[in-house]
């Protein structure tokens, strides 16, 4: 069944289970992996776990029964996706995590720490606020790893700034329309008391931004969010969004494929945990990110 390349060698097959292909960042990540896999002449099977850890475990089981050569896991959850790691290891198939961590240790890791994103965003807010003011926080879908970690990161920073207060915190489930409604409602109850908005992703950040603009409050309120999706970068460039936090999909994707190939070829890894740091994107440096 397995294909061979022109040299008659077996083409390695990598199975990837992705967090959600309805998320723009993950789509970018997938595309980066796909492009690099093509370059390296590897067959890449991509499954969409649709944010369900159980599905992710199932998909890894299916990869195992398909006898793929390596598995790339873009975990849905820290703990809940961990059984997938154990299963792959038990089957002797190398598995690496891309983008985020699980509690079980895989054979390799390429990605970032979501806490860091929250830290960078909140640090920027603190800076822009002059270390003083009221922040509202728009959470991702409650209970999901990214939501929990981004919130933790942000709150870690706030311990340093006693004069910055979280006025309200609410989920908008990663959804732009929901964030917009939430922001509209907050404007009603808090009005001018809001000095800054931290949204767990750019979609929600954009929603909040639009609500503020409609209420003609944008120039008084700072908005920072995470992911650096195209819309957000454009908004930063236009001076609407104050900052976003860039996560290097391309770096993570190519890194993961390379690491998987090394493991397939049983080459030793000089570093089995590559951390690709988040980067702050502001009007000053946005141009550089828009090309990426």
């Amino acid at each position: 069944h397995q294909q061979t390349n022109s040299n008659g060698e077996k083409i390695p097959v990598i199975g990837a289970s992705m967090l959600s292909l309805q998320s723009e960042f993950v789509v970018n990540l997938k595309d980066a992996m796909g492009a690099h896999a093509k370059e390296k002449n590897v067959e890449l099977i991509v499954n969409d776990a649709q944010r369900t850890a159980e599905k992710q475990v199932q998909q890894v089981e299916t990869f195992i029964s398909q006898k793929v050569d390596a598995i790339i896991l873009n975990p849905c959850e820290v703990e809940a996706s961990s059984p997938a790691i154990a299963k792959a290891k038990a089957a002797g198939i190398p598995i690496i995590n891309v983008n985020s961590e699980t509690s079980a240790t895989p054979d390799g890791f390429v990605g970032s720490k979501d806490e860091q994103a929250g830290e960078i965003a909140m640090e920027q807010i603190a800076k822009l606020l002059g270390e003083k003011g009221n922040v509202v926080m728009i959470d991702g879908y409650m209970g999901q790893a990214a939501q929990i970690k981004r919130a933790i990161g942000a709150k870690n920073i706030l311990t340093k700034y006693p004069d910055i207060r979280i006025l309200a915190e609410q989920t908008a489930e990663w959804d732009r329309a929901k964030a917009m409604s939430l922001m509209e409602n907050w404007i009603q109850s808090y009005g001018n008391k809001i000095n800054a908005v931290f949204a767990h992703n750019d979609e929600m950040g954009m929603g909040a931004l639009q609500a503020l603009e409609q209420a003609k409050l944008k120039d008084k309120v700072i908005v920072v969010s995470i992911d650096a999706i195209a819309d957000a970068l454009q908004a930063v460039k236009d001076g609407r969004l104050d900052a976003t936090v860039f996560q290097d999909a391309k770096g993570q994707g190519t890194g993961a494929i390379d690491m998987a190939l090394q493991l397939i070829k049983k080459q030793p890894l000089e570093n089995n945990a590559i951390f690709i740091p988040f980067q702050l994107v502001t009007k000053e440096n946005v141009e550089g990110y828009m090309k990426k």
């Binding site: 309805q22 732009r176 929603g207």
Partner: protein, 315 residues
């Protein structure tokens, strides 16, 4: 005769039970927070409910006709990305994305209706399948990415004002008025009630049941498309993952408004009240800054409670 009068009396109460629940809720919120009962906030609530409102009115047709439509949320996403694709600045005139979007929604409604009537498959399963399919199509069409950079004209639909009133509100009101007339004053509207109330009898009365059902699904699809366009315009992008589970809020509004899921019974005004109840719960809980977790619990309690109050009065 007296029995008849009595019956009618109790009908009136049962009809207004949910209105009472609505008013009670409004009073409670006004007492709880001064920010609730302000003209501006009420306008915001109306704008916020307009997408769900348009969807709920659409599915009211289908539910009265004895069906259900679970594909609404996905159709919102699909029509949103499709319309947005033709709404970039300096490409097509505004009418193009609008018509293509509406056409997409109508097409989905038509397919739902055809499979349900000719294929004789349960509406639940057909529209559940369509929910998955339309979502897939939206993702394929947009390659999983938001379709942004839309023309100001397009964005006016969701974000603009006309005579100081937000356009989505105007559209919602228009939909309500037209639907009210359609259901109450036209023959096709009355046939929708008949088909939902007793399909056998409708057939025996010479009503072309399949045509009536098709009509209901097409209206529903078309209104879902309108909602999709309004939403895309409101958030200035076509999102392939927009509208997830919107159908549940829409159906909840319809049921809260007293429409029976068994078909044959229901009103547009009821649905409007249902939509407003859900809207003020969402708004009010945000205003009160109730924690996300408790918001969900309270929302569930209020929805059941409102309907319970309604039923209590009906007895």
């Amino acid at each position: 005769m007296i029995a008849g009068k009595l019956k009618q009396g109790s009908n009136i109460i049962s009809r207004y039970g949910i209105f009472i629940a609505f008013i009670v809720l409004c009073i409670l919120l006004s007492v709880a927070t001064p920010h609730f009962l302000t003209g501006q906030n009420l306008l915001i609530i109306l704008r916020q409910v307009s997408v769900n409102g348009i969807l709920a009115i659409g599915v009211t047709f289908v539910i009265i006709a004895g069906g259900i439509d679970l594909s609404l949320g996905s159709v919102v996403a699909l029509t949103g990305v499709v319309a947005a694709g033709y709404a970039h600045p300096n490409t097509y005139p505004l009418i193009v994305p609008l018509l293509i979007g509406l056409f997409t929604g109508v097409g989905v409604g038509l397919i739902n209706g055809l499979v349900i009537t000719l294929g004789k498959v349960a509406p639940f399963i057909v529209t559940l399948g369509m929910m998955t399919m339309a979502r897939g199509l939206a993702l394929v069409w947009s390659d999983g990415r938001p379709v942004s950079n839309l023309s100001p004209a397009f964005n006016f639909i969701g974000g603009g004002d006309w005579l100081y009133i937000p356009v989505p509100i105007l559209l919602f009101v228009l939909v309500v008025v037209v639907s009210y007339i359609l259901l109450n004053n036209t023959t096709i509207g009355r046939y929708i009630y008949a088909v939902g109330g007793n399909e056998q009898a409708a057939k025996a009365s010479g009503i072309r049941v399949n045509a009536v059902k098709l009509f209901a699904y097409i209206i529903c699809g078309g209104l879902a498309a309108l909602a999709g366009i309004v939403l895309a315009s409101r958030i200035t992008t076509g999102q392939p993952n927009a509208g997830i589970a919107y159908e549940l809020d829409a159906i909840a509004a319809v049921v809260i408004g007293g429409t029976s899921l068994m078909g044959g019974r229901g009103t547009v005004t009821g649905t409007v009240v249902g939509v407003l109840i859900i809207g003020i719960i969402n708004n009010g809980l945000d205003l009160l800054n109730v924690s996300s977790y408790y918001q969900q619990i309270i929302k569930g309690v209020i929805i059941i409670g409102a309907v319970l109050l309604d039923r209590r009065n009906a007895r």
